[in-house]
Amino acid sequence: MPSNYPGFKYEANREAVSAAKVKALESLLIEKGIITSNTVDNILGYFETEMGPFNGAKLVARAWVDPDFKARLLADCNAACEELDFPQGMSGAEGEHMRIVENTPEVHNIIVCTLCSCYPWPTLGLPPYWFKDPTFRARVVREPRKVLSEFGVEIDDSVEVRVWDSSAQIRWWVLPMRPEGTDGMGEAELAALLTPEAMMGVATVKV
């Protein structure tokens, strides 16, 4: 049956057509026994609950309130991941070793992957577009302060900027400084302040 179904003009009703078409596709695939009503939820659930920056945020928030945990996180990121109740495969089962570096008043860290786009996805989720951009990759090594300033992060000349280049063996990420005015906050509240950019070193944590 052609798509000139009465009442539908493709461009004008594109939204309605697409929504209906996907619904039709879903029911067709269910009828054929190819998928069940849970299939897609299971796929999406992986992205929503297993792989995302909420994992990194939890680790950082715990490190902010628990100095012993912080020491363990800095010493062995993958082992520290295992202490939190994360899903299987989070802590380097895929051969990816993560290392976290701490921002201090003296040192600001930023991550990059100059070779490709290695990224600590278990803690930070999917990388932003620009992470793979060749210009970003080249410039962040050559002129990190300028790049940071374009991200809105002004680094005082007295602060050392360190650039960490990830590889297939080690994926770096950043433990940002806990912002002022968060003394009374609990872990969940602190975790909510964190963004992937802050844990990449291209943003500061704001309250």
């Binding site: 049956m1 461009e11 929504a19 039709a24 879903e26 929503e48 895929e94 996805w121 793979k132």
Partner: protein
């Protein structure tokens, strides 16, 4: 190396900005519910072996390229998941999961049911 198919599939699309799905703060970003369904179905069926993920990726890239050659680059009608859905339909027919015309028939039935309920 990836042990999770979902992760492999998603990261394989991160190669260039046009082919990568919209993201926000490290998460996939869906504007509409049907986008989630189209995204999930494409991954699920490849995971189940109905087609190779690379075939989906190539079909998606071809669909995007076709849009780009027939539209202005700043055309506000550009829509990533419209291309995704077109690519999915194309590949489902090509790999024999559904027959040509089958989806339209289903769609017509669905719409017919709805309109008769009104």
């Amino acid at each position: 190396m990836f042990t999770k198919f979902e992760h492999f599939a998603a990261t394989s699309l991160m190669g260039n900005p046009t082919e990568a799905p919209p993201r926000k703060d490290g998460h996939l970003h869906f504007d509409r519910d049907w986008e989630k369904m189209a995204f999930g179905v494409a991954i699920a069926l490849s995971k189940q072996g109905y087609y190779e993920w690379e075939d989906f990726r190539q079909t998606l890239m071809a669909t995007i390229k076709e849009w780009e050659t027939t539209h202005d680059l700043n055309d506000p009608n550009w829509d990533y998941y419209q291309c995704w859905l077109t690519a999915l339909e194309t590949l489902l027919i090509k790999s024999g999961v559904i027959a040509a015309g089958e989806l339209e028939t289903q769609l017509a039935q669905l719409l017919h049911c709805k309109s008769s309920e009104l």
